[in-house]
Every structure is written in C-alpha cells, then in structure tokens.
C-alpha cells in the first residue's frame, strides 16, 4: 500500500517536470512561429506605391511640360508652376482614394534651369522698352539664341540699301560677327542678306506684301522660302545680339536665349506692354513628396524639353 503511494508520487513529480519543460519549449517555439508569421507587407507596399506614384508623376509631368510649352520648346515658369499645382491636386485625390497617403508635386523654381524669352506680341516697330531704334537684346550678358521667330510685315518695310534694318550677333572675345540685313528693293521686292566677317553669305528676295517669317535656318515669304540663313554662322556663342534701325520695319518676334537676361529693355509681363521678358523653363525640377504611415519619401523629378542638352 505504501509502495504504491510512493510510485504515484514519483510519477506525479516526473509529470510536473516534463510539463514545465514542455511549456518552456513551447514558449520558445511560439516565438519562432510568431516571427515567421509576421510578414513585412507594410514596408513592401509603401515602397512599391511610392515608386509607382513617382513613375506616374514623372510621365505625367513630361506630358504636362510639353503641353504647356505648346508650340515652343520651353514653357513659361508661371504657366508650368500653376499647371503643376493643379496636377498635384488631382494626383493627391487619386492617392487618397487608394488609401491613407499623401502625394504632392510642385515646381522647384530654385533648382529648375530657366532661360529668357523676349516677346513682342503685337506687330509694330522693333524698339526696346525705352523706344530706342538701335539697341542690344542682351546688354552685358553674352548668350546663345535657342529659339527665334521674327514676323515682318513686308509692306511696312521702309529700310533702304543705304539705311537697312539689321540684326547682328558679335562675339566680343573672338571678334567674329554675323548679321541679317533687310531692306526694301523697289519696285516690288524686299531683300534679305546674310554676311559675316568672312564675307557675304546669302541673298534672298521676297515680295513686298504679306509676312516674312525669319527663324534660325530660313526666311519664308508668302510664296517663297529662302533656306540657308543659319543664324550666327561662323560666330561661336556666347555673343551679343543687337538691333539696328528697328524703326525701319514692323513686326512681332519671339526670341529665346540660353541665359537669363536683365529686364531693363523690356516689360516684365505681357500685361504691361511690348516687348516683354518672361522666364521659360529649360529643365524643370519638381519636388515629389510621398508620405504614408510607414514611409516618408521626398525626391526631385527632372523634366526637360525634348532634345534639350
């Protein structure tokens, strides 16, 4: 009777010890199972979403840049900034519909590369803001012309052979120069000539009615196109661009330079008058911000005109 009780006690003690050991091991294994089951989905989702929104914004902003630029290569900074703001609001709404996250895009005017565009919107004599007929487009800031469009009213040309209207570029370092001369050639022609310091280059006759369009490579009349103009042939940039006898012709123009010019010769906005100066964006940098409960991400998106160096 006594032996049976002792045996039972031993079995009980042994069972307790084994139970404690099992509980200890179960605790340890439980920790392993818990770790294995904690899949890091949150971090993966956040980074994937951030990448997706960044790529979407990059593509959309490129299209927005091209669209705002319209027919020109470069959009104006105010137009690009306001369109980017509107786009950002739409993107934020889309992102918020996907979940609790914040996405924002804004034009960074400090890091974006800008150029100057000089515009005379209305057809009139080609004078500066002060009304000077002889003036320099980029005083004290040698530059390079990247866009050029001058529309001259041929019927309003009063320039003569002895007193022509001309646009001249000159590199003050090398002394090289190039000019485009325009004068009336009676009875019914308007003559365009180009020459540089090496000698005459091209001569072209258009009629005396309609509009002549001068760009970087040609002059086009109502029925004739004169190729081979090649603005600033033989003159390495940067150079100064001057206008002589702007009172002898009438027209509108748009010139984009590779540098930012001072506004002394121009009005600072289209509403003030012609000619005016506006900053255009060569390479836009947009601040992109993505934020959710796990990830805070800020970067810059670079967008530039096609073919821009």
């Amino acid at each position: 009777m006594s032996d049976r009780r002792d045996r039972a006690q031993l079995i009980l003690v042994g069972a307790v010890v084994i139970a404690i050991a099992l509980i200890g091991m179960a605790t340890v294994f439980n920790s392993i199972v818990l770790t294995a089951s904690l899949a890091p989905q949150g971090a993966k989702t956040s980074t994937s979403d951030a990448s997706m929104y960044r790529q979407a914004a990059q593509q959309d902003l490129q299209q927005l840049f091209d669209r705002v630029a319209n027919d020109s290569a470069y959009p104006t900074e105010p137009a690009l900034a306001s369109n980017a703001t509107r786009y950002s609001h739409r993107l934020a709404e889309v992102a918020a519909n996907d979940g609790p996250r914040y996405v924002n895009v804004s034009l960074n005017g400090t890091t974006s590369a800008t150029r100057s565009r000089i515009v005379q919107h209305n057809s009139k004599q080609i004078r500066n803001r002060a009304g000077d007929k002889n003036w320099t487009i980029n005083p004290s800031t040698p530059t390079n012309v990247t866009e050029l469009q001058i529309k001259l009213q041929l019927s309003q040309t009063s320039a003569t052979t002895s007193q022509p209207f001309y646009v001249e570029v000159e590199n003050s370092t090398t002394g090289d120069w190039w000019n485009l001369t325009v004068y009336s050639n009676p009875p019914d022609q308007t003559t365009f000539t180009t020459r540089n310091n090496a000698g005459p280059l091209t001569t072209c006759n258009l009629g005396d009615t309609g509009v002549a369009v001068i760009n970087l490579t040609s002059v086009s009349g109502p029925s004739t196109t004169c190729p081979g103009i090649d603005f600033a042939t033989g003159v390495d940039p940067p150079y100064a661009i001057s206008i002589t006898r702007g009172n002898k012709v009438e027209g509108s123009y748009q010139i984009t330079t590779d540098t930012t010019l001072s506004s002394s010769n121009y009005y600072s906005s289209p509403t003030q008058g012609d000619p005016y100066l506006v900053d255009v964006v060569k390479t836009a940098r947009f601040d992109f911000v993505y934020r959710d409960n796990r990830l805070a991400y800020r970067t810059q998106l670079r967008v530039e005109a096609e073919g821009s160096p």
């Binding site: 050991a21 091991m25 340890v28 980074t47 796990r294 800020r298």
Partner: protein, 155 residues
C-alpha cells in the same frame, strides 16, 4: 518479522534510497530539460535573428532603390519587427567594418541574452553609414548622403 530477503535493510534506508533516487531522477530530468531548452533557445534566437535580418536587408534594398544615390532625395522607412527574440532584446548594427563583414556593408544582429550573432551581407548602391538600432521598430533613413538605421521606439 524481518525475512531473509530484507536482511540488512531498514525502513530508514529504504526511504533514504527512495528519496535519493527520486532526487537523482528529477535532477536529471531538470538538467536535461534545461539543456534542451537552452539549446532550443539559442537555436530559435539564431533563426529569429536571421529571419529579422533578412527582412531588414530586403527593406534596406527598397530604401536603396528609392534613394538612387540622389543627394536631393530623402527616405525614411519605418519597419516593425519583434521586440525580442526568444525572450531577449536584440540590437541591429549596420556595419561597414571589414572586421565584422566579409564583404562590407553588412548587418550584424546580436541578441542580448545569448551569444548568438548573425551577420548578413547588404547589397546597396547607395552609401551606408555605421549605425545601430534596438530591435523592434527600426527606421531605415536615407538623408541624401547615406543609409543608416535609427531606433523608432516601441511598435
């Protein structure tokens, strides 16, 4: 009446032997179980640290992708991991030391209660900075120059 088979054996001796044998058996069980638990604890610590480390390496790679070595970019990714492994707190060290890494940079995870240390290679195009975080909530930060770890507090 004591029989011939019980000669030389008293009740006291019988009890003493019973107690002694019982003690030996229980001690053996406890020691054996303790050893097993300790081994399992180290084993589980190693496995847990490796699991956590591999996740952190993946998350660092994600930050690396977002960072793109761009000085204008900042990233802060909060990651949540177990506060401890097998009941012990642990530390995560992002190291660039050749003494710790066979191919720097690497991630060194060390549990406080054990001697378990796990080292994992980190593949990153973005520079990394030596940094340490306590296990649990770990924040992976790219500040425009390098990726580093910060302790993010309790999850």
């Amino acid at each position: 009446m004591i029989g011939s088979r019980d000669r030389g054996v008293s009740i006291a001796v019988s009890h003493a032997l019973t107690i002694a044998i019982t003690t030996l058996v229980i001690s053996g069980l406890v020691i054996a179980a303790g050893g097993i638990v300790r081994d399992q604890r180290e084993q589980s610590s190693r496995q847990e640290l490796r699991t956590i480390g591999e996740r952190l390496v993946t998350e660092i790679a994600r930050v690396d992708t977002l960072a793109g070595s761009d000085a204008r970019t900042t990233v802060s990714l909060r990651t949540d991991h177990p506060l401890d492994v097998a009941g012990s707190p642990y530390h995560v060290h992002l190291s660039t030391s050749t003494a710790q890494c066979s191919a720097p940079p690497c991630l060194v995870l060390r549990a406080s209660g054990t001697d378990v240390v796990i080292t994992l290679d980190v593949v990153s195009d973005t520079p990394v900075a030596d940094s340490t975080a306590t296990g649990g909530r770990v924040v992976i930060v790219y500040d425009g120059s390098a990726i580093h770890l910060e302790t993010g507090g309790r999850a």
